[in-house]
């Protein structure tokens, strides 16, 4: 029960300790990561009241099926990322500990202002991480946009508090359900903007190109993996449970998210650097997940989100290391680079094919769920657009994959002598890490019910779309 608070408290405590014990900060980071994952095996669902004030006046931490899934995904991703790229952490150990606390806090909290506080903590760590490797101008860009977003988020919260007099998320959801949607148009949109900046929806995501485009092998998988997962999970909770909206605003939000999806894929198609392709693909996938959340399809959204973040962690880790060692991530200069690194290449391939939603991989299961969900709501335009963007996605991913594996210009046979002369070396942690994630992706693709049922306890998940079942614990009230 009280283990929930430890998920936030331990990393925070160790963060302060690491300021005193600077040399041990990386080890403390590992300790925190392992402890968090260990706690998750024994944590129980329920709420924790903080500070003695009963809800709806006080802050609560909520662990229901939804946030438990989110916590598992986040902490496993975070730990894996740290383990794989240990050598790149350098002196950022304390920052990462604070980030871990903030991310866990964002998912756990049941109070909307507390969410804002954790969002700010997380954002600050994100800005600091973004500036790694002298990437100052782009981090500044991120800071500007992020601050605007958080400010608008706070404005939205203030409006909601003024209208309803409560900050507890469950209480808000009950009160909002009683009023007409038109009343909450402005605060909803403000909160949407605040989250959209972190979640990489267009046009709020101009920072992504500079930050992820120049990130190395620890920052990129964190921002595209852990941070993206958390912000989208929070987006999902807010927009499917608390701020349930009806047609007029919903159409506008859906337009924004669908446009993000389609234009993100178009932008990815036009790029020739691996990191830029991947970051635009992240933007497109974020648009897709947000679309599903706004439409009310929680389970397909969660599945698609999990697929995206795990694949992106693999892809960005590998690309980050390649870029670090060879100073380039242009595909044309890296032809045939997997010839000497078959394990890395296979993992990269599996992660990409899973993103495309091809069978034998987890992405297929999530894609089918997404399609079934959308069609069951009799929505036809959005699936058509999703399928159209999948074709474009297929084009650029396959182009990237085929060129990274094979050598030679057009018309020349793919031979070893045309291979690029750039040299990369991958640590064994990276190899093991990406291989394990890829094997899990394949296993979950062939036997999806294995893992998911263990998390949810029962039921096959195809067509299981019951938000009531997922948001079981009602904020302690």
């Amino acid at each position: 029960m009280n283990l929930q608070i430890l998920l936030i408290a331990i990393p925070l405590l160790l963060a302060f300790l690491s300021l005193l014990l600077k040399k041990q900060s990386n080890n403390l980071l590992l300790v925190a990561g392992v402890m968090n994952v260990a706690f998750l095996t024994i944590i129980q669902k329920g709420t924790t009241v903080i500070g003695g004030f009963q809800p709806p006046f006080g802050i609560t931490l909520v662990v229901d099926n939804y946030s438990f899934m989110a916590l598992v995904v986040l902490n496993i991703l975070f730990l894996t990322t740290i383990l794989m790229s240990r050598n790149s952490i350098e002196e950022y150990g304390s920052v990462l500990l604070v980030a871990m606390a903030g991310l866990n806090g964002m998912i756990l909290t049941g109070d909307i202002f507390n969410l804002f506080v954790f969002l700010e903590i997380t954002s600050i760590t994100a800005y600091i991480l973004a500036s790694k490797n002298n990437n100052y101008k782009n981090a500044f860009h991120y800071l500007v946009i992020g601050t605007l977003g958080s400010g608008l988020f706070l404005f939205g919260i203030a409006l909601l508090y003024g209208m309803f007099g409560t900050l507890n998320m469950h209480d808000l959801s009950i009160r909002i359900a009683d009023v007409d949607s038109a009343v909450i148009v402005l605060p909803t949109f403000m909160i949407f903007i605040g989250l959209a900046v972190e979640s990489k929806l267009m046009p709020f995501s101009s920072w992504v190109k500079g930050v992820l485009g120049n990130a190395d092998d620890i920052v990129a998988p964190l921002i595209a993996g852990s941070y993206a997962a958390t912000s989208l999970f929070v987006f999902g909770r807010l927009f499917s449970q608390v701020l349930v909206i009806d047609s007029s605003l919903k159409i506008l939000l859906l337009t924004i998210t669908v446009v993000t999806l389609v234009l993100g894929e178009f932008a990815a198609f036009s790029k020739s650097k691996i990191k830029e392709i991947l970051l635009f693909s992240s933007i497109g996938q974020a648009g897709l997940v947000a679309t599903l959340f706004v439409s009310g399809l929680v389970l397909p959204a969660v599945l698609q989100l999990i697929n995206n973040v795990f694949s992106k962690v693999v892809l960005f880790t590998i690309t980050g290391k390649i870029a670090k060692d060879t100073d380039t991530d242009e595909i044309a200069e890296l032809r045939g680079i997997f010839a000497d690194h078959k394990i890395i290449g296979v993992s990269f391939t599996i992660a990409s094919l899973s993103l495309l939603g091809l069978p034998l991989f987890f992405g297929f299961y999530s894609k089918i769920n997404v399609m079934f969900g959308l069609f069951s709501l009799n929505i036809y335009l959005i699936p058509a657009l999703i399928l159209f963007s999948t074709i474009i996605e297929g084009a650029y991913f396959i182009r990237m994959l085929l060129n990274l594996w094979n050598t030679g210009e057009e018309g020349e046979k793919s031979k070893l002598e045309y291979k690029t002369d750039k040299i990369v070396s991958f640590s064994k942690y990276k190899k093991i890490g990406v291989l394990v994630i890829s094997i899990v992706i394949v296993l979950m693709g062939i036997f999806p019910s294995l893992l998911l049922d263990n998390l949810y306890g029962d039921k096959t998940l195809l067509n299981e779309n019951n938000p009531e079942y997922i948001f079981e614990i009602k904020g302690g009230m």
């Binding site: 046009p203 709020f204 036009s270 069978p359 034998l360 396959i398 057009e410």
Partner: protein, 609 residues
């Protein structure tokens, strides 16, 4: 014999082959031969299990039907024959183990596809086949070919996915025999679903305007995989096309709509696309300088025949289309294998650089001769029987425009099949190819096997047509009528055996005459007469160069679908660049501008609404 068990064994077998190939490439490739042989025998025995259903992993369901069995046997034969060539290419590949793995996985995908019992299973195996074969193509000469193959196949896959989702929403089941039944009474919905569904067949078979991937992929793929691509994977499209008229109640659903010459308009448009494919494929093949691209365009043309035959969905046309699928599979695979032998020995497939291969590899020449006679539809080979059936059906229904295209394709095919025969095999051996060793027996065996099948089905088509008759009966169409070795049709009968016997007499007579008369005088390859001028570029005057130049000049400035495809790709890139500039500018102020604009819109929208 459990089909699910075979699927799992194939899956495990492919991974075992991968790991074995990592240590010893040759042994791995021999494993592919063994595994495909095992699968071929297994599928053959499955004939006794017609009607049984199996399931796998809770989601995949199989059913053994005559249709599935027919397609699987063709596919397994082609994969098995081409597998014999794998060991020779193991040194040439950058990733031989990956090749073996993908070879077997794509084989598994096709077998699973043909025995599927519901649309989701079809989709799963379709996608598996597409992505596994995508990784084999770039091991040859072109990376762009792999991307083009994948993208165009994706267009088809998306149509398939959309269909299956739509139907599941309406009907609640995805079982093939039941899912489309309700569409018989809903013409509007049926039109949409029909187009989406048959789109996957069109893109896979390479029907105009989706034919551009065929010359790129077949032409540039590794020489040992092109036979599989052309003889095998393209038939997946034929499978979907059959389902789209056999199981999908196309004729019933559209019976109240517009008809042209008795055919509902949507189906007629598809047939027109097939007719255009025949013409485009034939003309582009006549123009080709590369032997493999020529055969690829020939596959486009034959795909058109298959489409037309199947879409007719009647006693003769459907039988013709199905039989043409078998004939084309074997003939195309055999001819690609023959070219692969030539390429293995001479390292080129450009027609003008070859010549006189008959002296070095007479068996290969015979195989190639037999297969191209079948491709052109000349008796006594199998291609003649199937084309006869299709043209009978077209004439019977009075479809003049399409019949014109079919005749044009037939006659045009004489032109393009003769070109590689005479320029590659006949004539004299070029100097650089003087010292070629004959191909090994391992290469000869599958070629002779396939050529034998081509000949057999041309002489004794009864076996195939009986099975096709059973397939026709299973979807409610009158089976083709057979009488001994003869096929009975409305406008006359075809007794293939009699035709072969007469042809045999003619052949023997010509042989005797040839042996009796004087031998021709041999002239040097480059000995060209020019009435007192010196020639410095003898190669350009050799007959193999610019073979059909006068004819090609007639359509030299033709519009090109490839250019349209390139332009579309360029436009997508431009949109992406625009997005990049507008929304992802270096300067944060532009983003703030967009955010402000959005807030204003929301605010105004809220005030107005």
């Amino acid at each position: 014999m459990d089909l699910s068990l075979m699927a799992i064994l194939l899956l495990i077998g492919s991974f075992i082959t991968y790991f074995v190939s990592r240590s010893n490439k040759k042994v791995g490739s021999y494993l592919t031969i063994l595994i495909t042989l095992f699968a071929l025998m297994y599928v053959y025995i499955l004939k006794n299990n017609i009607g049984l259903t199996y399931e796998l992993f809770g989601v995949i369901t199989f059913k053994v039907t005559y249709l599935g069995w027919y397609f699987s046997i063709i596919m397994a034969t082609v994969y098995f024959s081409a597998a014999f060539f794998n060991p020779f290419w193991m040194e040439k590949f950058l990733y031989p183990s990956q090749y073996n793995l993908m070879y077997l996985l794509s084989f598994l995908g096709t077998i699973g596809l043909f025995f599927s019992n519901d649309l989701l299973t079809i989709f799963i195996f379709w996608e598996i086949t597409v992505w596994t074969s995508t990784f084999i193509i770039p091991l040859g000469k072109s990376r762009k070919a792999g991307v083009m193959y994948f993208v165009i196949s994706s267009i088809g896959s998306m149509g398939l996915l959309f269909t299956l989702m739509l139907m599941y929403n309406k009907v609640g089941t995805l079982e093939i025999s039941k899912v489309f039944n309700m569409l018989a009474n809903e013409p509007k919905l049926a039109s949409i679903v029909f187009v989406m569904f048959i789109l996957s067949g069109l893109t896979k078979m390479g029907i105009f305007p989706f034919h551009i991937w065929l010359p790129q992929a077949h032409g540039n793929a590794p020489n040992t995989f092109s036979p599989v691509l052309s003889g095998g994977l393209v038939k997946m499209g034929g499978f979907i096309t059959f389902l789209s008229v056999g199981v999908f109640p196309a004729y019933e659903a559209f019976k109240d709509g517009l008809h042209i010459a008795g055919i509902p308009i949507l189906i007629y448009i598809m047939m027109l696309l097939g007719a255009v494919s025949i013409i485009v494929g034939t003309l582009m093949a006549i123009k080709s300088e590369d032997a493999k691209k020529l055969l690829a365009y020939s596959s486009v043309a034959n795909g058109g025949y298959i489409l037309i035959g199947i879409l007719l969905a009647d006693q003769l046309g459907l039988a013709g289309g199905m039989m043409h699928m078998l004939n084309h599979a074997f003939a195309s695979a055999a001819s690609f294998l023959a070219i692969a032998v030539v390429a293995y020995k001479t390292n080129t497939t450009k027609i003008s650089e070859l010549g006189g291969m008959i002296h070095k590899m007479p068996v290969t020449y015979t195989v190639f001769l037999i297969s191209i006679i079948s491709l052109a539809g000349i008796p006594p080979m199998g291609g003649f029987v199937s084309k006869w059936l299709i043209i009978q059906a077209l004439a019977d229904k009075g479809l003049l425009l399409i019949a014109f295209a079919a005749f044009f394709g037939s006659i045009g095919s004489f032109l393009y099949v003769f070109r590689p025969l005479s320029a590659v095999f006949l004539g004299q051996v070029a100097e650089r190819n003087e010292n070629l060793t004959p191909p090994s027996n391992m290469m000869r065996v599958p070629m002779i096997f396939l050529a034998g099948l081509v000949l057999y089905f041309g002489v004794l088509p009864r076996g195939v047509l009986e099975i096709i008759g059973k397939i026709q009966a299973s979807v409610g169409i009158t089976p083709v009528e057979l009488n001994g070795q003869a096929i009975m049709a409305v406008n006359g009968n075809l007794d293939a055996l009699k035709v072969f016997v007469i042809f045999g007499f003619g052949f023997v007579l010509a042989l005797l005459l040839f042996l009796a008369f004087k031998k021709p005088r041999k002239v040097d390859l480059m000995d060209t007469y020019t009435s007192a001028e010196f020639i410095y570029t003898k190669e350009l005057y050799h007959y193999a160069h610019d073979f059909y130049a006068p004819f090609e000049r007639l359509y030299g400035n033709h519009p090109s679908v490839e250019k349209w495809a390139d332009q579309i790709s360029y436009k997508v890139k431009e949109v992406g660049d625009l997005v990049n500039k507008v929304f992802f500018n270096f300067n944060p102020s532009l983003s703030i501008l967009w955010i402000t604009v959005l807030i204003v819109i929301i605010y105004l929208g809220g005030v107005i609404i």
